[in-house]
Structures are given as C-alpha cells and as structure tokens.
C-alpha cells in the first residue's frame, strides 16, 4: 500500500518537474489597449443608463517605476464627441476601479480630480501585477453601482 501511494505521488509529480521554460515577451509598451485609446467620433465606452459616453486618454503610462495618469471625459452620446465635447458632469458620483477579472481582485485606489465639468484627471494609477485588467468607470449612489463601462487593458 505504501509503495502504491509512493508510486502514485511520483507519477502525479514527475510530469510537473520539467525544467521551467521562461516565456518572456519582447519588451513593449507597458500597456496595450484597443482602439479605444484613439480620439474618435464613435462612442466605445457607453454608460447606457444615462446615455453617456466616456473615453480614457492616457497622459502618463504606468510603469514599474511610475504610477500613471489619464484623463476621463464624459459627453452625451447623441450630442457630443470626444474631441470637442460638450462635456457634462455625470448625474451621480463617478468612480474608477482597476479590476483584474481573471483573478477576481482589484488594485490600489486611484485619485480622481475634476479639471472642469465633465473632464477628470485620474492619477495614482497602479496595477499590482501584470495580466489582463479592466478600467471600470462607474456611476454610483452610495455603495450601489448604477451604471458601468469597462475598458479592457493588458499590463506587461
């Protein structure tokens, strides 16, 4: 019986003990995003409940050494655009959450500063690990999330 357990453990174990093969990617920009990054006439991040559109514009990319900053703009879907507005303040509190959907946890809280109505600076952006993340832009009342738009990004 003891021999059987030993053999079973080793049989389960041996396939795992090959030498590691590090899969380092070629160095590239620390953040990779989709076309949402470009200034566009289309609305790619929608807050449907409030008929709002929003866009993320990076001012400083976060790296291992520096926290990032981006600008967040809000406009009505049918009445404005990312380039020229007019920009409006969301009807309820606005929040930004950095969320890692594949691991079910977030990252450090960001700092949000209103620059002018409908335009916010989001700073102290830091991702605690590499991988697939989402920047979740939320409209909240108290602790309840009333509406949300999510921008997928990959951190390397």
């Amino acid at each position: 019986m003891e021999k059987l357990v030993t053999v079973l453990v080793l049989a389960l174990f041996i396939p795992q003990i090959s030498c590691a093969r590090p899969n380092y990617q070629v160095a590239q920009a620390p953040i990779q995003t989709g076309d949402e990054q470009k200034v566009t006439e289309d609305c790619s991040l929608k807050l449907n409940k409030y008929s709002l559109c929003t866009a993320v514009e990076w001012q400083k990319m976060p790296t291992e050494d520096v926290r990032g900053t981006f600008t967040l703009k809000f406009w009505e879907i049918t009445k404005g655009n990312q380039a020229s507005g007019p920009f409006i303040t969301p009807p309820e509190k606005m929040a930004v959450v950095l969320w890692m959907p594949s691991m079910g946890h977030g990252s450090a809280p960001v700092k949000i500063t209103e620059i002018q109505p409908g335009i916010y600076e989001v700073s102290e952006v830091y991702f605690v690990m590499s991988g697939d993340w989402e920047i979740r832009i939320q409209i909240k009342k108290g602790r309840d999330v009333l509406d949300q738009a999510a921008l997928p990004i990959y951190i390397n």
């Binding site: 174990f13 795992q16 090959s18 691991m103 079910g104």
Partner: protein
C-alpha cells in the same frame, strides 16, 4: 546507525514551501513530529526576493524591488502515543519599491492548526515500507487577502482570506545514508464575505480546491544532512461575487529547494534552505521568488 538517521529525519518535517505570494498564498504543509519526540518548536526566518511575475497566459515579466521577510513559528505536541497536534503562525514584512513609491508593512499571516496521526508506524526497521503520517490542517484567515488590501502596493497582503480544510499523507524512509520523503496534500477552501476597499463594499470570495505534491531526498553524514526537494502547488482561481469575472485561471508553481542541516545536539538542530520558484514546472498566475531561510528546531524527547 538507524537511530542516528531517525534523529536526522526528525529535523522535523517543517518544509518551507512558498505559495503564490502575490495573493498571500501559502502551503498548508504542517510541522509534524516524525521522530521519537514528545514535542518540538521550530523558528524560521526567511528572506524572499520577487524575481518574476507570470500572468494567466503564462507570460513571464521580470520584477525588482519586492522583498519580504517572514518569521514563522511551528509547534507540535504528541498528546496520545501516535496522535499529535500543531500550531503554525507567522509574521510577514513586505518591502515594495514600485510606481515611484516605497511601502513597508508588517502583518500577521494565516494561522494553521494541524492534527496528525502516525498511520504507518515503524515498529521494527525494515528495508522498504516507509513511515507514514496522515494529517489534517485548518487554515484560519487571520492574514489579509489581496481582495482586502488597502495599500497602494499591496504590502498588507499576508493571507488568502478564506478558511481552508486540508488532508494529507506524508511518507518517509531512511535507507542507509539516504532518506526520502513524499507528500500529497489536498485542501478545500470555503466562501467568505470580506470588505473590499477597492469596491467600497463587501464581496464574497469563492475559492476552490488546491493541492501540494512534494518529493524530497537527503544524504546524511555524521551530524550533517544535505537534501533537496521539489514541491508543486496548484490552486483553483478565486471567484468572487463581483460580476464580470472572466478568464479565471488556475495558479500553479513549483518550488525547488536545497537544504543543509546540522544537528547541534540530540535535541536541537538547524537548517539552511535555498529555494527558487523559477527553475522547474510551468508556472501560471503566480509570483516567483528566490528565498533563503534559516530555521532552528528544539525537540523534547518522550
């Protein structure tokens, strides 16, 4: 000769296995009395340095500026012939320099309760049948999980945030100057509601099953023991009640260790351990560390 080897084996089974430190993971391998002792206490100090992160796609990213020190206490006591109970607790200090910030925090890790039974006693020495211990562990979420972290760089993460119940079997044998150990452990973790500073509300953690497989080999000469081991850890992804979770992937990593032990006297021994998590296996969703550890064990004979 055999009694000397038994003493050496009773360096006490107190492997230093490191889980996915990003997320407070820790192996539920307990400290067991494996020799003819009544009780033992093991104190260990470990210095770890994060070298790489591996994401859910298996891509490696080099990291620097993340170090941690862990002070751990393991204790075990025989309370009835072949039955024993144990307690493990640790204090972890993390020092992270990243994103233009430097953070340093100390925190209590998860506390582990252990119950063990000598299921395969070695009444008389024989060549092949190993000595065996069956054990159960209960991990208490006294450390803060990544979901509860309130610091920018995650220096307050010291546990998994959930209760876990584990069951395992350890087999060990001394043959001449050599000894070997194999161990298998499986644990089930349970749902728990925690407060998430990121979400500013409660969230329910929904863990799954994890396991540890370990094999080790040692060579003994006089008061010295040189050994090595490989341990493979897996952990189901931690789901949460937060909607939108997707692409959840398993955590896995393999820790390779070499040890040098010295028996100071019949009741005291010390062990130096060097470990690396980037040499073997196919890690995924894990932080990989290089570590050095020094432990001192004091035993009380029956």
């Amino acid at each position: 000769m055999n009694s000397i080897l038994l003493f050496l084996l009773s360096f006490g089974f107190s492997l230093h296995l490191y889980g996915a430190s990003c997320c407070g993971g820790s192996s539920a391998v307990p400290s067991l009395i494996t020799g003819d002792d009544k009780g033992q206490i093991t104190t260990s100090y470990t210095q770890s340095n994060l070298t790489d992160q591996v994401d859910q796609n298996g891509v490696w990213i080099r990291r620097k500026g993340h170090t941690s020190q862990t002070l751990k206490f393991d204790s075990a006591l025989i309370f009835s012939d072949r039955w024993q109970a144990g307690l493990t607790f640790s204090a972890i200090e993390k020092n992270i320099n990243s994103g233009g910030l430097q953070e340093k925090r100390s925190a209590l890790g998860d506390v582990i309760l252990t119950g063990g039974f000598e299921s395969l006693p070695e009444w008389d020495y024989s060549v092949w049948p190993p000595k065996g211990f069956t054990f159960m562990t209960l991990t208490l979420p006294t450390g803060k999980s990544i979901n509860e972290s309130s610091t920018t760089l995650g220096t307050d993460i010291s546990g998994r945030g959930v209760y876990s119940l584990g069951l395992g079997q350890l087999l060990m044998k001394a043959i001449g100057a050599w000894d070997y150990q194999v161990m298998i452990e499986v644990h089930q973790s349970f749902d728990r509601k925690v407060y998430s500073p990121t979400l500013e509300r409660d969230v329910t953690l929904k863990p799954g099953i994890g396991s540890t497989l370990m094999a080790g080999l040692g060579w003994n000469v006089k008061e010295y023991r040189l050994g090595g081991s490989l341990s493979h850890l897996t952990e189901d992804p931690m789901k949460t009640s937060e909607p939108g979770s997707s692409g959840l992937t398993q955590q896995r990593l393999t820790t390779a260790s070499v040890t040098a032990g010295y028996q100071i006297n019949l009741e005291t021994s010390s062990t130096l351990t060097l470990s690396s998590q980037k040499l073997f296996g196919d890690p995924q969703n894990s932080d990989l560390n290089d570590s050095i550890s020094l432990s001192i064990q004091k035993r009380w004979p029956r």
